[in-house]
């Protein structure tokens, strides 16, 4: 079985552990073994070390990458921010020997050395390019036929493409997540704000009102243009924003609709017939109804 080092980050294990559970349960069904990276820390998040000092950022990121290097595996992470931070750090270290030497001096305080032997992938990249849509399709017990998905790939999965091993043909018109949803039988009509930001992260912590307006624009574009049955994302930050801030917008009377939200592997898990109480159990925007519809007898594949 091919192995990948599972870099969890912060939001997935602490705020959305049902996403973590969906990784642990779906990947083995696709022939991939999930290897824990014991002792991993925060990537570190954009608002911390990267906003203060480049070498401190690279030391913390490379420490995390060395955990995979010692297990002799490549990294996969399901958090877009972590992916962006780690991929950019790796790109800088691998293209600037002087910088790498400076960072390794810092790392030596933690008795570690970065070599560059492990690659950094996003969960979506592993699913799309390493496993492939055929295997994903073959692992499904339930089909999403005639269900409409609004896809939300998330920013750090798309830009800057120069630091990524796996790239979209045109990151401003991304297709990977659409293809992953098609593999489960769903439709993914285009909507005009598909590639726009959800407002989570730095924007939300700096000015919640502007962040909510950014989300509202995007939600209304989805609702008015394609009226989706669900929103599907491959970014844990987008997941939290679409799920929890959607409820905030409803509570404030800013929107009058509710669209269930899934991280892609949660949806995959449901299609594989896995237990929703483990893989899709924590949300602010209700999704019980759509889960029952997905795992209904009529949708069973032979």
């Amino acid at each position: 079985m091919e192995q990948f080092g599972m870099y969890l980050g912060c939001n997935i294990p602490f705020n959305a552990p049902d996403i973590e559970q969906s990784f642990r349960q779906t990947f083995p069904n696709l022939g991939v073994e999930v290897v824990d990276l014991q002792g991993a820390t925060c990537c570190p998040a954009w608002g911390t070390a990267p906003s203060f000092d480049i070498n401190t950022w690279l030391a913390i990121s490379s420490r995390n990458i060395t955990l995979a290097e010692s297990e002799q595996v490549d990294i996969m992470t399901g958090c877009n921010s972590c992916f962006g931070i780690l991929a950019e750090a790796k790109h800088m270290l691998d293209h600037d020997p002087g910088r790498k030497a400076q960072v390794n001096r810092l790392l030596s305080k933690a008795d570690r050395k970065y070599s560059g032997s492990s690659e950094v992938y996003h969960v979506a990249h592993v699913l799309h390019n390493k496993i492939g849509v055929e295997k994903i399709n073959a692992s499904a017990k339930y089909t999403l036929r005639q269900l409409k998905v609004a896809v939300q790939p998330g920013c750090h999965l798309l830009w800057p493409s120069a630091v990524m091993k796996v790239k979209e043909k045109n990151p401003f018109f991304p297709t990977m997540l659409k293809e992953l949803c098609h593999a489960l039988g769903a439709e993914t009509p285009h909507y005009s704000r598909l590639e726009s930001c959800c407002g989570m992260g730095a924007m939300r912590s700096t000015n919640q009102e502007r962040a909510l307006d950014t989300l509202k624009d995007k939600l209304k574009s989805m609702k008015e243009e394609i009226d989706p049955d669900m929103i599907v994302t491959t970014c844990s930050s987008c997941y939290l924003q679409f799920d929890n801030a959607q409820k905030l917008l409803r509570d404030k009377g800013e929107i009058d609709f509710a669209i269930p939200v899934f991280y892609y592997t949660q949806l995959l898990a449901l299609c594989q017939g896995l237990d929703p109480a483990q893989v899709a159990a924590i949300s602010e925007t209700p999704r019980d109804e759509i889960i029952v519809r997905i795992q209904s007898k009529q949708r069973l594949l032979n």
Partner: protein, 181 residues
């Protein structure tokens, strides 16, 4: 037409400083506006974003904008860096400016809690309810990260203790508490 020699304009050494802090492409910018056309921070109406920040820095403004916390709203999404036809890497200029702001402690208040949490637990984001949530979905209460791994936290603290971040005094309370133990 008047030509502007950007390098000669940098009397205060502002461009030099931004470049040293990671904004290496600053002087490549000709203000075409491609970055602003895709910037979520510009679209959301924040006062400083990639394009106008670059113009201000190129024109020798620093003190005037140092306290503007809107640069901390940048998502580091890198749309600007992807689309820039002059290889300015505008997001790196924004982060270089943030690092200069940080040196002067002109830091968004929202930055402190994650920094403290990072130092203490190895995680910038932590949720006290996480044990309950993890149990509910059938996972061990503690993930295999630094949260349950004092050796990992100690390694991280060794990196942070000697960093320019520690010199700002951000971790002082936490560092002295550690020594008391």
């Amino acid at each position: 037409m008047q030509t502007v020699n950007l390098t000669q304009m940098d009397k205060e050494g502002i461009a030099e400083k931004v470049i040293a802090m990671g904004g290496e492409g600053l002087l490549n910018c000709v203000q075409c506006g491609a970055c602003a056309s895709v910037c979520p921070v510009a679209r959301a109406g924040f006062s400083l974003y990639c394009k106008n920040l670059i113009k201000k820095l190129q024109s020798g403004y620093m003190e005037e904008i140092l306290e503007d916390s809107s640069t901390w709203a940048c998502q580091a999404c890198n749309r600007c860096t992807e689309i820039c036809p002059r290889d300015v890497k505008p997001s790196e200029v924004v982060f270089a400016f943030r690092r200069i702001q940080a040196e002067e402690l002109a830091i968004s208040t929202s930055a402190f809690t994650p920094l403290m949490s990072l130092y203490e637990t190895g995680h910038a984001v932590y949720n006290k309810r996480s044990k309950e949530l993890r149990k509910k979905v059938g996972l061990p209460e503690t993930p295999p990260t630094s949260i349950g791994d004092p050796k990992a936290v100690a390694e991280l603290q060794k990196i942070l203790d000697d960093s320019p971040m520690a010199e700002l005094g951000i971790f002082l309370n936490l560092m002295s508490r550690k020594q008391e133990k």
